[in-house]
């Protein structure tokens, strides 16, 4: 199926289709944007590999794919945020270099991300007019004309709230509409939406859809990235599916169904290659850390979970599924609105990470540079910080012993295989893999019972990645309970069981041989079999 659909994508492009095949009406015009052979590598990760894509005026082009499949990187290329290693982008048939976000704006490209970049203290009109107010007579700003236009656009978008209120005081969804209005002010030829409905209610989503319909009739090209396949299904004139940085399928309207989309995302043949990874999955120990009915709106909508000693539990989920928020709740970094956390079956009030640390729970956060490491300090400083109390020497009035700090750092460096094993190195100078080893290694000091890891191998080279996975298994074998959160579903294959989150809930629990990437992906897209109540399985043990 893959090879067939790949062919169809070329329709209307320079290569052309055999004359016998009638061209679909939508693609009759020349493409507005034509991306060919675009490749981009970040360190060891190949984010885009030879991507070809045509975007036509007046079409809604859906982009689908799992986390890290390449959709967002492609959009960043068009936005001038990322410059491709190879390949080119042509606009109106002419090869163009988009080296700067300003270039993209000049081409009439507008982008709506989840971060809106509005000026919080400005009202809707000012935000929409920002940078557009022309110079009038005497060099004074000529606001009247711009504001008039902003009012018209506001009406089109359906901004039915006071336009003179600072946008910071507006709900997120309304802010989003303001940002949309701002894009429309700029006579856009292409508008790209990245997960637009994540912060919108049903009502606003409908509004968005009608706006998109209007854009289409105005000849604006729309790129629509979403994990919500029903939206893709409803809106798109064409859909391009990404996997591992490459285009794996292209669909025309009549081919777009939920199932074909999911198949493209997950890879139909992936089942065959799925490995049975769990070696010697021993009987898990007792429940160490548990949670009942955790709610933290809107990200976590009622999660119960049990982490067993000696078990590696994976959590799979797409962006916005509530994975990271769950980790933060379990670690006391955020407090749940409802529900409770239990340690050894007893309810604990986990009010802060300090308390979690004291109780023997560790967290390796998602963003190691901003959330985990002290980059301008050495490895010794970074490793001992979680176990500061172990450095105090009673006989010396509780002063800390630098010798002990270095000794502990050295033994940790050895355990995590820091390369080179020099504990005086400033952490900023280490590679991503070494940095991650330290972020993990600091939790090996002292008595830890639970370790929660959020994206443990993101931006880490292959070698370090394998080492980290081996380390996690070793820790489990020592009796630690581990929770591994990852958007890289491949790395979850080695977990003892995997919980899949979708819209703030655990919708699937997979064990042993049933842990496959397609099953994780299906569940992550909300296409799980109506089975497990994940609480039940945990509790029965």
């Amino acid at each position: 199926m893959d090879s067939d659909s790949k062919q169809e994508g070329g329709v209307g492009s320079a290569v052309g289709a055999p004359p016998t095949q009638p061209m679909p009406v939508v693609h009759e015009q020349a493409p507005l944007v034509s991306v060919s052979g675009v490749t981009k590598t970040f360190g060891v990760v190949q984010a885009l590999r030879g991507v070809d894509l045509d975007i036509h005026p007046g079409e809604v082009h859906g982009l689908i794919g799992a986390n890290g499949a390449g959709k967002s990187t492609l959009i960043r290329v068009l936005a001038g945020v990322v410059s491709p290693d190879e390949g080119e982008v042509a606009v109106d048939g002419e090869t163009t270099t988009i080296s700067d976000p300003r270039d993209a704006t000049d081409l009439g490209f507008q982008f709506l991300h989840q971060e809106l970049n509005l000026v919080p203290k400005f009202d809707a009109l000012h935000n929409m007019s920002l940078g557009l107010v022309g110079m009038g007579r005497l060099g004074l700003a000529d606001r009247a004309a711009t504001f008039r236009r902003a009012r018209t656009v506001a009406e089109e978008v359906g901004l039915d709230f006071p336009l003179d209120q600072p946008v910071a005081d507006l709900p997120v969804a309304q802010q989003w509409l303001v940002a949309l209005g701002r894009s429309l002010m700029r006579r856009a030829r292409l508008i790209a939406f990245d997960e637009p409905t994540a912060s919108l209610s049903a009502n606003e989503t409908e509004k968005l859809f009608s706006i998109i319909a209007r854009m289409k009739s105005d000849g604006i090209a729309v790129l629509y990235v979403s994990h919500r396949l029903e939206e893709i299904e409803t809106l798109s004139d064409r859909v391009t599916a990404f996997r591992d940085g490459g285009v794996v399928a292209r669909f025309r309207p009549h081919e777009i169904t939920r199932n074909t989309l999911i198949e493209a995302i997950t890879g139909a043949d992936a089942d065959a290659t799925s490995i049975a990874p769990t070696v010697g999955a021993a009987e898990p120990g007792p429940v160490v850390l548990g949670a009942r009915g955790l709610v933290s709106r809107p990200a976590v909508m009622g999660v119960s979970i049990d982490l067993h000693a000696g078990e590696v539990t994976g959590v799979a989920g797409l962006v916005g599924s509530g994975r990271t928020e769950l980790a933060r709740l379990l670690f006391g970094a955020d407090r749940p609105e409802e529900g409770e956390v239990q340690l050894d079956g007893r309810r604990v009030r986990m009010r802060s990470p300090a308390e979690a640390n004291r109780l023997g729970i560790g967290l390796v956060p998602e963003e190691r540079r901003s959330q985990a490491l002290f980059l301008d300090k050495d490895a010794t400083f970074n490793v001992n910080i979680a176990a500061g109390h172990s450095l105090r020497v009673r006989s010396r009035g509780n002063l800390i012993s630098m010798r002990r700090a270095r000794a502990q750092a050295r033994s940790t460096a050895e355990r995590v295989d820091l390369r080179p094993p020099n504990v005086d190195t400033i952490v900023r100078k280490l590679s991503g893999g070494n940095q991650q080893k330290l972020a993990l290694g600091r939790w090996l000091l002292g008595r830890r019972r639970v370790l929660i890891l959020d994206e443990p191998t993101r931006g880490v080279d292959v070698g370090a990645r394998a080492q980290i996975h081996r380390m996690l298994r070793a820790l489990a074998n020592e009796g630690m309970a581990l929770l591994v959160i990852s958007s890289d579903f491949e790395e979850l294959l080695s977990c003892d069981r995997v919980l899949v989150m979708h819209l703030g809930r655990i919708v699937e629990e997979l064990r042993g041989a049933s842990i496959t990437q397609p099953r994780m992906l299906r569940a992550a897209y909300g296409q799980h079999l109506p089975v497990v109540s994940s609480t039940a399985t945990g509790v029965t043990q």
Partner: protein
């Protein structure tokens, strides 16, 4: 409010590769950024030694410099602790003045013995630091604003307590001795300063509080997520800063022989100048006690030398300001060349 972001690997910022070709400029840059302040200090000493060595390099003058610097060293090093925890303290000057007024007032007005008066004054200063800390952590007011506010309130309290008239008559002789008493020819404040600075160095470098404070200064989010009780550490840092301002203020009152409402106000700018000068000594824009001492000495030597050379007073200020900007600029440029933001 999701903390998850787009899952592409682009989130890993690419290492700064700009200016990589300027390799040969790296060594001087590294030296300038690390040793700029010290080079400036040595240069000052050399210049003054050459110009007026017979006056500058006498043991008498060096003792003078040391005693002149002792109060500034105490206040600046206290401030450094707050700065290490990434908090400003703009109240130190006013708190110092307040301490002088309180300690003299307690003795003159309330008839307290000197020891009790000192302890009571220091307790009051520590309490101000506690309030600063609580405003910053509990009310979430930025320390810059919070301490500006409390500092101003302290000025008011100061006038309330002494009605603007310095307490001077009726102070015990022992109080003046705090400043005048000499051991081995060196005045007592120098010893006190040495003891305070050594204790502060130990607090910063050999206690968990100091470890955590440094962590907060580096990356407060990471410190929080690793289990550091960030708020508590910040409050303590503010208390240390205020208490040191108090010690300095009391010594100043002993030196002046009276508690004047604005006696120590100037130590605010002095303290910041020294701490920022010191932050670029030996380290990359990182506050530390040894650096602050170097900063204090640099400013002090410049002042003293200019006075000995006979430069008009205004030059002292011009040089102090110039030194501060030059040292920080040197290190910033140095770091830019080294490719670290």
């Amino acid at each position: 409010m999701t903390t998850e972001m787009l899952p592409t690997p682009t989130l890993q910022p690419e290492p700064p590769s700009v200016e990589a070709p300027r390799k040969q400029g790296q060594l001087p840059a590294r030296i300038a950024s690390k040793y700029g302040t010290i080079i400036a200090l040595i240069a000052l000493i050399l210049v003054f030694s050459v110009l007026k060595g017979n006056l500058f390099l006498t043991s008498g003058n060096l003792v003078d410099i040391a005693s002149e610097l002792s109060i500034g060293a105490i206040i600046s090093c206290g401030l450094t602790v707050a700065l290490i925890a990434d908090e400003f303290d703009l109240s130190i000057g006013y708190v110092g003045s307040f301490a002088g007024v309180l300690v003299t007032g307690f003795m003159v007005k309330s008839g307290m013995p000197m020891g009790v008066a000192i302890i009571a004054a220091l307790a009051a200063c520590a309490a101000i630091g506690l309030i600063n800390g609580l405003i910053i952590t509990k009310a979430g007011v930025h320390s810059f604003v919070a301490t500006l506010g409390t500092g101003t309130i302290v000025v008011g309290l100061n006038f309330l307590y002494n009605s603007g008239i310095a307490f001077s008559i009726g102070l015990p002789k022992a109080f003046f001795d705090l400043n005048l008493h000499k051991i081995l020819g060196v005045p007592l404040p120098v010893y006190i300063a040495v003891v305070v600075v050594v204790i502060l160095w130990i607090v910063v470098n050999r206690t968990l509080f100091g470890y955590y404070a440094q962590a907060i200064g580096q990356n407060a989010e990471a410190a929080h997520l690793v289990g550091v009780r960030v708020d508590r550490i910040r409050v303590i840092a503010m208390v240390v800063s205020s208490a040191c301002a108090g010690i300095g203020g009391i010594l100043l009152a002993a030196k002046l022989g009276s508690g004047q409402s604005n006696a120590a106000d100037g130590y605010l700018l002095n303290g910041f100048a020294a701490a920022f000068l010191g932050s670029v000594a030996l380290r990359n824009a990182e506050f530390h006690i040894v650096g602050t001492v170097i900063g204090v000495v640099t400013v002090g030597v410049a002042f003293n030398g200019l006075a000995i050379v006979g430069a008009p007073t205004f030059w002292q200020y011009v040089v102090q300001g110039g030194l501060l900007i030059a040292a920080v600029a040197l290190s910033t440029i140095g770091r830019r060349i080294l490719g670290r933001h």
